[in-house]
Amino acid sequence: MGKYLLKRCLYMIPVLLAVSVLSFTIIQLPPGDYMTSKIAQLQMQGEEASLSEIAALRSQYGLDRPLYERYGMWMWGMLHGDLGKSFIYNRPVSTLIGERLALTVTISVCSILMSWFIAIPIGIFSAIRQYSPLDYFFTFVGFIGISIPAFLLALLLMFGTYELFGVTVVGLFSPEYAVAPWSFGKVLDLMKHIWLPAFIVGVAGTAGTIRVMRGCLLDELGKQYVIAARARGVSEVKLLLKYPVRLALNPMLSTIGWILPAVISGEVIVSVVLNLPTTGPLLLEALEMQDMYLAGSFIMILSALTVIGTVISDLILAWSDPRIRYE
């Protein structure tokens, strides 16, 4: 086990290196750089750009140096723990990500938990009561959940809550609490607002999980050992939960590692629509403006988390399913 873990860790290094080269290059692929993005943006606002500042900043930020030099500067900084500075905000990348991390993780964890607590029981129910009216109902709702894009759902709900309740669910706090320091009232206000993004992000995931649970469980329930156990008089509930559900959870456990980066990046499009102060919109802005350090460092963090998460996934899978073992 230890040797296996070490091997996996060593494999991570070339993967991350390749990801860093790829992501850095792709971010720079569109013609132009942050300066041209900013100039174009200023023009759209009807303003002008200072040619002098453009020239000065281009050389100051090394935008006129060749690609490999810029990559080298960035990698060197990363190895020293310096993720670089964002052009958009003119602040260190680590600060920008750090100040948004807590809220991002909160929302992500809420949506994931919500998604599981709803999806797993429904999935189990759907499997054991296959083709019942409730099964059809949940299937229908599930497919609607998968087919409506999350951002559309967000827009509809935003407008719906305004029309019905007169409340604008833009952002995570009401105007009174937005700039106030943390207090019990602010936490309550957060709870009042957080259900919407958690629900929207959760809904899409819920539908998928229900279908996977249902499908895998149906597979298992048809197997010989289940029939044998039933014949021996094992109670239905114990029968269900001891093996089939554990096995049906395998696909979910094997992808659990990918939750790690998702938790950090949050759901980008929904966050943009709802104007949440999370890391998702930060990444989108950075990519749109070719803010290379913010975008590059962020993607590196996500990739590292994905790779680490995959290793964790494999370990969890090996622990939960004794049939899987590695030399």
Binding site: G46, E48, S50, V179
Partner: protein, 641 residues
Amino acid sequence: MNPDLHASVRRFAVSCFVVPRSVQALAFAVPALSFGMTFHEAPMLRERVESGELPPIQERLPDNPLVVECFERIGVYGGEMRTVTPIAGWLVEEGPMVWEPLLRFAPDGVTIEPNLAESWELSDDSRSITIRLRKGLRWSDGVPVTTEDVLFAWNDVQLNKDITPLPPQMFAVDGEPMKLEVVDDFTFRLIFKQPYGSVLFALIHSYLLQSLIQPKHYLKNFHAAYTPEEELVKKARKKGFDYWFELFRDENHTTRRMTGQTPPDYPTLGAWQVLGEPAIGHVMLQRNPYYWKVDAKGQQLPYVDSIHSEYVGNPEARNLKYIAGEVDFASTPLENAPVMLANRKKSKYSVRLWVENQGTRVTYFFNQTFPDPELRALFRDLRFRMAASLAINREEINDILYYGKCIPRQCTVNRACSYYEPEFERSYAEFDPDRANELLDEIGLERKGPGGWRHFPSGRQVILSPVVIEGGFRPETTELVADYWSTLGILLSWRVVDNELVYTKLMGNQLDLAIYPGDTATDVGMAMGTPLQIRLWAPLWEDWFMSNGERGEEPPAEIKDLWDTWLLMRQTGDREERIRLGKKLARSQVENLYGIGAVGGTISPAVVTDRLNNVPGDGALCGWPWAVHVIHRPEQWFIEE
């Protein structure tokens, strides 16, 4: 009589009747003189005076504060204005509410008024201008403003090659920057090698890019001429920079920046200053206790205590906030007008229909220096451009896209401009597809094939492939225009791409057809930048002019004449002469159709909550380079529930 005496009597007589320019300048200042006024301040400032934190109001205002006429009525102090900003890390309010120009426009958009400068005098030969600052003017931290700040801004910042690699263009004539002469603590003079009458426009327009007043007391701590360089390099390294001037640039927030926003406590001359960012995406601004404007009753402006600006990146989320009445002031695109109007009674706001200052909002510029020889020759043929213009049904575009409320016209200066003539608007603006087809037949573009598309004599089909930027009705207008030109047999194969990509193509002379607003539509728009937006319709000719013949392509004689006319227009200090030359330029545009436009006088709706007063109503002018808020005087807006 002695001939010398005769001459001097004649000179004296002439000078009595010809009003010198300094008197003209004073004429604007006279109504604004505030001798003998008692001053009042906002309650929140009075508290700070009583606690000893701030000096009393008389000591905070300059000797001659600017008196601002309120648009509706005298206001009351207090309240917090809520706004939104669409771009991350970018305060839309920063331009209008934190910085101030030396001179500004009156609400008519044409008359020039004093602002930071109390008065000015342009010399008779227009080669120099003497400017007098207000005595007693102070930065937002209380330090007095003097010509030291101007000298610092020019000599130590603008002319310093490390800090400013490119010479400041608005204060240079013929490539040579001006000379700055300090007369006394509050008076300075700008001296140019050649006449530069349009320097007045530069003084209004340049404050966001090349400010002539920068806080020396604050910035000298980061400048190698005043602080030992080793100390600065240490500070620079801590921030991740290598050189002292990189640190300086990072610390200098006296202009609109490409990165980041003004930090709190940075000395400013605007009505409000940045207080800080208490939560992600929320920026607070608070009144500047040393603001140097008062209303007619002597109350120090601004009325509004603070501004709360929230970053909302998604346009639909912004719209939701507008219709809920949660934003006190915002500009919104015309396509949202129906939704905004529908909700205004319920959410207690009004929609002001302001008018944009562009000649035409969507303008088509054929690239006369496009690399492809056949297309280039076609674009240079005036008959082709005439045909393209005549085929556009402007009434229809106005009805479909602009609710029939804007003005179908040719791309030219707008009605408020001094160079406007009614016939300019009508030039080739009638809808005459038959005549257009005749013109194309004359050129020799034959219709061939099942579609009846026109082909070059070489047999190649005439296809234009512009790239279009999203928004501003550009895609919609282009769709309609493509339809109109298809009746001419010209195929317009257009697609929407990212804004930055279009800009890059433009810079690389790769656009056959540039689609942009017609910006040279005002007095100041015509004087700034380049003549008639030549970069959009002849990048290589512009290159030739800008590089003095070293790069680009040599333009034909009439374009050189155009450029010379433009230079003369900028140089002359004589208003009549400037108008004559401006009209000549405008006439050249509408006769030669460098840019072809469809609808102008376009409306830019502004959402204003009922509690915010003194905001201009329908028909007010807006848009850069009038710097919307400088005309709209946000310092005299007030909140009354």
